[in-house]
């Protein structure tokens, strides 16, 4: 009743919807970075929403199933194989005991997800099965998978069935330049008007420092408005007095290489926050990789709420259609 990890890939972790409610004591939510791909995967295999799945990045894992089950691969565009035969992605597929799931070379996107009927059964830690590797909690022993690990399959299956498929029109495309919506705020007044405009005019390149904590970008230099720094803010003009960082918030240490925080975010600190990426657009960031480009498109609060409503509405429609 397990999945044997033959090859873990680069950094494959157990994730679910995340560990909500502990941000104030310094625990970021963790959870699947591409929420859409994660939820659709569970719907395809017939799981309750919130069942734990596997999130990989760049390199898919090689997994052996020791029982008959149903799986679905979603997320990045990557060829997936069962016993060497290519299988469709964004579709539930029956696998037999002894079958091996493996992956080819990523075509676009960054993170493939593997949903399994019943979910990955690891202990709940503060209400979630998500792995937070920085402090080593949750998921499978608090870490990324290694060769030889054996993952138990859970009992969260509602209606496992092969052949459920996401409509082609709903399959996300992962362009090499992603567009994400940005709500400007918190400390945007610290940037000069020119620099704030430059931020949204620039096509930013994803650096190799891009993981579940955050993505670091390169592409332009931004200037801060000179001021006498307030008590507690230090002398660097990029600094403010410490505050909580929203998940998705954008900070620019030193005026170069902005960082967007993701689900394993640093929860607070003293960098000026120029804005926050709309939550549902973190899915898009999660599917960009080192070398890809990102553009930040400014929206107001109503615009941000509309983007979120539309995207969550689409997910609801898809889930209803996949029963």
């Amino acid at each position: 009743m397990t999945i044997r990890v033959q090859d873990p890939g680069l950094e494959t972790t157990v994730q679910d919807t995340g560990r909500l409610g502990y941000y104030s004591i310094g625990f970021p939510p963790s959870g699947a970075l591409d929420s859409f791909a994660y939820h659709v995967g569970n719907a395809l295999v017939g799981n309750e929403p919130g069942a734990a799945a596997l999130e990989a990045v760049y390199l898919g894992p090689t997994l052996e199933f020791t029982q008959d089950t149903v799986i679905a691969v979603t997320g990045a565009d990557i060829p997936a194989f069962v016993d060497g035969e290519e299988i469709p992605t964004w579709e539930s597929v029956a696998v037999s005991s002894g079958s091996v799931l493996s992956f080819g070379q990523l075509r676009s996107g960054a993170r493939p997800y593997v949903a399994v009927a019943g979910g990955i059964d690891v202990p709940l830690y503060y209400g979630s099965r998500s792995t937070y590797t920085l402090v080593g909690i949750g998921g499978f022993e608090g870490r990324a998978l290694r060769a030889g690990d054996e993952l138990a399959i859970g009992s969260d299956a509602r209606d496992p069935k092969a052949g459920r498929r996401l409509d082609a029109g709903d399959v996300p495309v992962h362009p090499s330049t992603a567009e994400v919506h940005l709500l400007v705020g918190l400390h945007s007044y610290r940037l000069t008007d020119d620099s704030l405009a430059r931020f949204t005019d620039t096509e930013w390149k994803v650096t190799p420092d891009a993981n579940r904590v955050g993505y670091r970008f390169r592409g332009a230099e931004l200037e801060f408005v000179p001021r006498e720094q307030p008590f507690g803010a230090g002398s660097d003009p990029a600094n403010v007095t410490d505050c909580g960082y929203p998940v998705g918030s954008v900070q620019v240490p030193g005026g170069v290489e902005p960082i967007v925080l993701l689900q394993d975010a640093v929860t607070g600190g003293g960098y000026a926050t120029l804005g926050t990426v709309v939550s549902v657009d973190r899915d898009r960031l999660a599917q960009t990789k080192t070398g890809d480009k990102t553009r930040f498109v400014r929206v107001d609060l109503d615009g941000a709420l509309e983007v979120r409503r539309d995207r969550l509405g689409a997910l609801d429609r898809i889930r209803s259609a996949l029963t």
Binding site: L10, E11, V57, Y58, L59, Q105, L106, P208, D209, A210, N211, K289, T290, G291
Partner: protein, 80 residues
């Protein structure tokens, strides 16, 4: 004699050596066997070994040390 090109399986930064003070994994003219490590790609603060997927002689490095590479980019040419 044919030739074979080893490509990168992840994006990141390519390194010839396991650490800054170490000898390179391989140099031009060296023989490698399938499965030998020929370089490192660093991404997300982790290092992923680049393994030869054929046996042969290293004829050319197609990237410099510390170059940023993309998935599928040609790294090392082998004479097989």
């Amino acid at each position: 004699m044919g030739s074979h090109t080893i490509t990168s399986r992840t994006p990141g930064v390519f390194y010839h050596r396991p650490s800054p003070d170490a000898e390179p994994y391989v140099t031009e003219g060296a023989s490698v066997s399938e499965g030998d490590t020929v370089g490192l790609v660093e991404v997300m603060k982790t290092f992923h070994e680049v393994k030869a997927d054929a046996t042969g002689t290293v004829s050319k490095f197609l990237v410099e040390n510390e170059d940023e590479v993309t998935i599928g980019q040609d790294l090392v040419e082998l004479e097989t």
